[in-house]
C-alpha cells in the first residue's frame, strides 16, 4: 500500500492549488516563485571583525556631504521630518540601531550593496530604493515616497556613504539580524509574556504602547495601531527573535537565550497591529496563503487563544 506522506499529498494537490492561484490573479508570474531571495548572510569567522563604516566626521563638507547628513537626520527623525510618509510612531533607527551602523541590526552597509535583488515579498526584483519604499509601507505603516523624492534620495546617499569600501554584491557578515535557530521544543507565547513583563515592559509599556516625549516617540510601540503592520518583516517571529537577541534590552544585547528571544518575539507578534496593506480581497486566509504561509514563522491568519490574528487595527 502506498503511504500518503504530507509531501506526496502536497505534490498531488499542487497543480490544483496552482490552478486556483492562477485563476485568482492571472497577472502573476509563477516562474518568479522559483527564484531565491538574498542568500543568508555568512556568519562571522572566529576573530573576524565586522565591517566598520566610515566615521561621521568623515562626511565630506560639500553638497554630497550635506545630502548624506540630511539622510542621517531623516533616518533618526523619520516621523518628525517626513510625517507625510510615516503612518505610525516608528523611525528607521528603531530597527537599525546606532543610525544603521550596528552589525546584526540590519546595518545599511550590508544591505546597500546587495541590491537589486529578487524579493518574494512583492515577487519581483527590487532596487535598493524599492526596498526602502517597503520600509515606509510596512514597518512605518505609511506611504512610500516616490523613487526620485528628496527623502529617498537623501536616505540612499546616506546608505551609499556608509557602504564606502564594501564590495558590491558581497554578502557581509552582520547583515540582517542573524536569527537564532528555532529551539527544538518550538516557542511558547505564555513564556514570552513573562520575559516581556520582566525585561521589555519598562520601556515599551505593559501593553506594548511605547513611550513618547512630547510628540516624539522615544520607545517605539511594539503592537497596536502605532506599530509596524502585518506586512513588515518584523512581524515574523524568527526575524524579531534575531533583532531582539542581538539588540535588546538596549545596550544589553546577547543576554537572552535563543529560547527567550523566540518566546518573547512570539508574544510580541501575537498581538494585533495594522493590517497588511497587501490584503487580498479583504480576506485574511487568502492573504495568508499568498504572502504569509511561506514567509518565515509568523502568526498572521493563525488562531491564537480562539481569535484569528490579522484583523488589523487602525
Amino acid at each position: 500500500m502506498m503511504m500518503i506522506t504530507p509531501r506526496w499529498l502536497g505534490a498531488a494537490l499542487l497543480p490544483l492549488l496552482a490552478a486556483q492561484a492562477l485563476a485568482a490573479e492571472p497577472a502573476r508570474n509563477p516562474r518568479l516563485d522559483d527564484q531565491t531571495q538574498l542568500p543568508k548572510a555568512p556568519t562571522r569567522a572566529l576573530g573576524q571583525t565586522y565591517f566598520q563604516p566610515p566615521a561621521e566626521a568623515d562626511m565630506p563638507s560639500n553638497a554630497y556631504g550635506d545630502l548624506v547628513r540630511r539622510g542621517q537626520d531623516l533616518f533618526m527623525n523619520t516621523k518628525a521630518l517626513a510625517p507625510e510618509y510615516v503612518g505610525n510612531e516608528m523611525n528607521c533607527v528603531n530597527c537599525h540601531i546606532d543610525r544603521g551602523r550596528k552589525a546584526n541590526s540590519a546595518p545599511l552597509w550590508a544591505a546597500y550593496t546587495m541590491y537589486p535583488a529578487y524579493r518574494k515579498k512583492n515577487n519581483k526584483v527590487n532596487t535598493f530604493v524599492e526596498r526602502m519604499q517597503g520600509c515606509f509601507q510596512f514597518s512605518m505603516n505609511g506611504k512610500a515616497p516616490a523613487p526620485d523624492s528628496e527623502v529617498l534620495t537623501a536616505l540612499t546617499a546616506y546608505a551609499y556613504w556608509m557602504s564606502s569600501g564594501v564590495p558590491i554584491a558581497k554578502a557581509m557578515p552582520g547583515r540582517g539580524f542573524d536569527e537564532p535557530p528555532l529551539p527544538r521544543g518550538g516557542y511558547d507565547i505564555a513564556r514570552g509574556r513573562v520575559v516581556y513583563d520582566k525585561q521589555c515592559a519598562i520601556c515599551h509599556g505593559a501593553d506594548g504602547e511605547g513611550r513618547k516625549v512630547g510628540a516624539t516617540s522615544v520607545f517605539p510601540p511594539l503592537w497596536g495601531k502605532d506599530s509596524y503592520n502585518w506586512g513588515a518583516g518584523m512581524h515574523r517571529i524568527n526575524t524579531a527573535a534575531g533583532f531582539i537577541q542581538h539588540n535588546m534590552p538596549l545596550g544589553r544585547g546577547k543576554t537572552l537565550s535563543d529560547q527567550e528571544a523566540w518566546d518573547v518575539a512570539a508574544y510580541i507578534n501575537s498581538h494585533e497591529r495594522p493590517q497588511d496593506p497587501r490584503l487580498v480581497n479583504g480576506d485574511i486566509d487568502e492573504t495568508r496563503k499568498r504572502y504569509h504561509a511561506e514567509d518565515g514563522v509568523n502568526l498572521y491568519g493563525v488562531v491564537v487563544d480562539g481569535r484569528k490574528l490579522g484583523q488589523g487595527v487602525r
Partner: protein, 245 residues
C-alpha cells in the same frame, strides 16, 4: 449662581478635599520638605535639596523638583533597603514613615519639571560628552543617553529620570556609584587595593550598571558636564512639538 461665584466655592471644596486626603495619609509633603518628618532623624529635605527643590551642585545634592513620583518613591525605598547606598540619605529614608515617603515624593513630583529649550539638530564631535549623549559608544554596547532619558535628557516615564537639570557633580557621582572601582593588584611598592563594589544597585534590569562600568573616567566627566550645561528654560514644555535627535 454665576460661574464666577462657583469658582471659589469649587476651589474651597477641592482644597478641603486635599487637606482631608493629607490627613488620611497622615503626612504633609510640603511640611516634611521644609521642617522634616515626625522622627527628627528625617531632616528637612530643603536643607540639602534647596528651597526650590533644584538641588545644590556643590554638595552633589540632586534636583528633586518635577521628578516622577514613582521614581522618587522608589529611590527612597531603595535607600531604605540598601539597594542605593548613601551615608546621608539612608538614615533619612529609614526615618521617614511610608506615608511620609509617599507624601514627599508626591510634593516634589508636583513641582515644575525641568525643561530645556528645543534646539535645532545638534552635530556632536566624536570624543565629546555630547557625542556620548547623542550617539553613544555602540562598539562597547553603550547606547546614547538620550535614547532612554529622552531628547535633551528631559526624562522618560517613571523609570528614566531627567538628566537635564542635574549638576555634573551628581551625575558623575551616580555613574561612579553604579561602576564601583575594580581591584588594584599590588606590587613591591604598593599594597593591593580591594575592589569597591557598586554602591548603587537599583537600576531596573541592570541597564545602567554595565554602561557605567564601560565608561572611562574622562567620559564620565564629559557626559556629566554636557547634561549639566544644558541649562533650563522657564518656557513650558510644548507637548505638540517634536524633539529632534
Amino acid at each position: 449662581m454665576t460661574p464666577t461665584v462657583l469658582r471659589p466655592l469649587a476651589f474651597g471644596l477641592a482644597s478641603s478635599l486635599l487637606m482631608l486626603a493629607q490627613a488620611a495619609a497622615g503626612a504633609d509633603g510640603e511640611a516634611i520638605i521644609q521642617k522634616g518628618g515626625a522622627n527628627p532623624a528625617a531632616m528637612p529635605c530643603m536643607s540639602c535639596h534647596g528651597a526650590d527643590g533644584k538641588g545644590m551642585a556643590a554638595g552633589g545634592f540632586p534636583r528633586l523638583a518635577g521628578l516622577p513620583e514613582a521614581y522618587l518613591a522608589k529611590q527612597l525605598a531603595d535607600f531604605r533597603a540598601g539597594r542605593r547606598e548613601s551615608p546621608l540619605m539612608q538614615p533619612i529614608a529609614q526615618a521617614l514613615t511610608e506615608a511620609e515617603t509617599a507624601a514627599v515624593a508626591g510634593s516634589y513630583a508636583a513641582l515644575p519639571k525641568v525643561n530645556v529649550k528645543a534646539s535645532a539638530l545638534e552635530r556632536p564631535r566624536e570624543g565629546t560628552g555630547a557625542w556620548l549623549a547623542l550617539r553613544g559608544a555602540w562598539d562597547r554596547n553603550i547606547p546614547e543617553c538620550t535614547l532612554c532619558h529622552g531628547p535633551s535628557g528631559v526624562g522618560v516615564g517613571d523609570a528614566f529620570p531627567p538628566l537635564a537639570g542635574q549638576s555634573a557633580e551628581y551625575i558623575e557621582a551616580q555613574l561612579r556609584a553604579w561602576r564601583g572601582t575594580p581591584a588594584q593588584p599590588g606590587n613591591r611598592k604598593t599594597k593591593p587595593v580591594a575592589a569597591v563594589p557598586p554602591t548603587r544597585r537599583n537600576d531596573p534590569n541592570g541597564l545602567m550598571q554595565h554602561i557605567a562600568a564601560d565608561l572611562t573616567e574622562a567620559e564620565i566627566k564629559a557626559v556629566a558636564a554636557y547634561f549639566a550645561g544644558m541649562g533650563e528654560t522657564t518656557e513650558s514644555f510644548d507637548a505638540s512639538q517634536h524633539r529632534l535627535r
